[in-house]
Symmetry: C2
Subunit: 384 residues, 2 copies
Amino acid sequence: MEKRQIILIPGPTAVPSRVLRAMGAPAINHRGPEFRELIVEVTAGLKQVYQTANDVLILTASGTGGMEAAVANFLSPGDKALVVSIGSFGDRFVKICRAFGVEAEILAYEWGQAANPQDVADRLAADTAHKIKAVLVQQNETSTGVLNDIQAIAAARGDHPALLIVDAISGLVAAELLTDAWGLDVVISGSQKAFMIPPGLAMVSVSPRAWEAAEKCTNSRYYFDLKEAKKFLEKGETPFTPAVSVLFGLRESLRMLADEGLAAAQERHALYRDMVRSGVRALDLELLADDAAASPAVTAVKVPAGLTPKDITGPLRERFGIVIAGGQGKLSDKIFRIGHLGYVQPTDILATFAALEMILAERGLPVQSGQAVAAAEEVLAGGI
Amino acid sequence: MEKRQIILIPGPTAVPSRVLRAMGAPAINHRGPEFRELIVEVTAGLKQVYQTANDVLILTASGTGGMEAAVANFLSPGDKALVVSIGSFGDRFVKICRAFGVEAEILAYEWGQAANPQDVADRLAADTAHKIKAVLVQQNETSTGVLNDIQAIAAARGDHPALLIVDAISGLVAAELLTDAWGLDVVISGSQKAFMIPPGLAMVSVSPRAWEAAEKCTNSRYYFDLKEAKKFLEKGETPFTPAVSVLFGLRESLRMLADEGLAAAQERHALYRDMVRSGVRALDLELLADDAAASPAVTAVKVPAGLTPKDITGPLRERFGIVIAGGQGKLSDKIFRIGHLGYVQPTDILATFAALEMILAERGLPVQSGQAVAAAEEVLAGGI
């Protein structure tokens, strides 16, 4: 029989059937009134989720396209950027900066750690000549399952005029993010994460200060030109043909999130996080991130001695149809990651721990059937 | 009652229900074995359609992203390109070149005309110093409904080493294109045209000569870096999260096109073209393009004196649910365009002419009920 998979990777996430049905709607003219209604509703919904009155623009691309847009529209060749890197996606910001001639000064942390906002404050305070034009940082680092304190990093700027560019691709909706209250200039998100729809769209919010920087920006951009996107949005269009079916899905998911409420969605993700962390501890496995910086979107777990990530992810997928992720970059051989963002059910997590118990016991680890599931159940019972 | 629309714009096109169902499949891990099978099958199918043994790479973007990739990967700042422009999308190539520091020399033709391959031959023959690094040209110009003779333009290069970069976004499948036999270095296509699936994917083929140029290219690129795309494709992945649901659709549409056969698909588009042109003539309206250069994807029609394009497109949409396109750029007020690529039924075209007869008669034009429909029927009867 066809195996129904449980997808617990840190995006793309499973897609609710209501969203899949919405995506199956017939094609519309992307330069017609039906599309205008669509993009107006979606943009308003995104502003709610972003908690912003800033412009929010939609690009047909994966999240990385949004990251490139954030560099190419607001930073010029020769500019200096302070890139706060706590993992693989921080390194991606560095690569994009360098590909576009921007000098990336890296404030790096050990993988598994969160950034220390005081370090950002110190570095910017030392930059009295205001050479640093922007601070680039992840809200949630997908490769390590670590959540940065964006509110504190934003406050750490003090009077320094650097733009704050936040990759919230895997963090938005899962964790609190207040674009305007915290003063975030550019915030990037992606459709395939907590929005629980398929990949294909990147969203970018732009503050008035960021627009001023864009006016002076000399970097090469055409497809990702955000000023053009704003100009077309004013007439209810996009400069180039958008991924309309994914937009149908986004409209539906934004309605679902509005029904649920943003606070409830964040509590849901916190509950998943706590279930997973509790289950991992009951298996006597080691968590990569401390509780204080634990991601509500994905949890990284150190692979027990003598095993590789594939010894765990392989049987999970082949025997149980449960798809989790291995490590990325320098942690490729050292961790596995359980995604718990977007359209996840508590039963998905319970079933995953049951399967993990069986797999680890077979490999000779001292695991009792039910011990991890019980720990996760306990959190779930307390959380409802 | 909900109005079922007939979509006859030059892309995005209507989507067959078989494709819509395929796109509703549950999410898969884009770094897992299911995805590898998917991209291997789709890439092989694309090579068939492209008639090439070259690499074909898939980007999550609209067609314009593919055009940008063709400039940013193969041309460096300061390079000269010869851009053959016969309409709005030729002008887009010019804008992309300039955004990326490439000097665009424009070989322009009146909108509605095809390019003369001899002009390309003459210009390249005069370039004895080989300053021109690439010739950029549309196979099918969507804004005017004109098909260029790509085979002749390719031959016009003679011994000149310029790369030939072809935007085949709205032309591929609808018209013949032999990537290898004609020696085309870079060919760009898009999902939302004759592939009859929603927008979200751009495809780019790359010849060995183009790869050599990419090695020396100094332009800024990250998201659209084709060398990275090739590297990841070798392990059955994409560098960044791809629009998986659109890829599910592409797999299905490639299967449908393989069943139909490429020659039959081209004959189908030629039949639509001839039905539309015959119907337009029967209405005593003027076609923008000559028969020799008539596009199999879209037909541009001059608006009768005293009317605007909206006088025709508005009632068609509001009263009949038929969506056609107005003009673009400098022809915005002068033409309307009937798209006939992708998932079009002959009945769509017949119904459109019936509606056009009614609308034009009401505006006082000397139109008899049935005259255009009869002309289109006659072509259809001959073509089956």
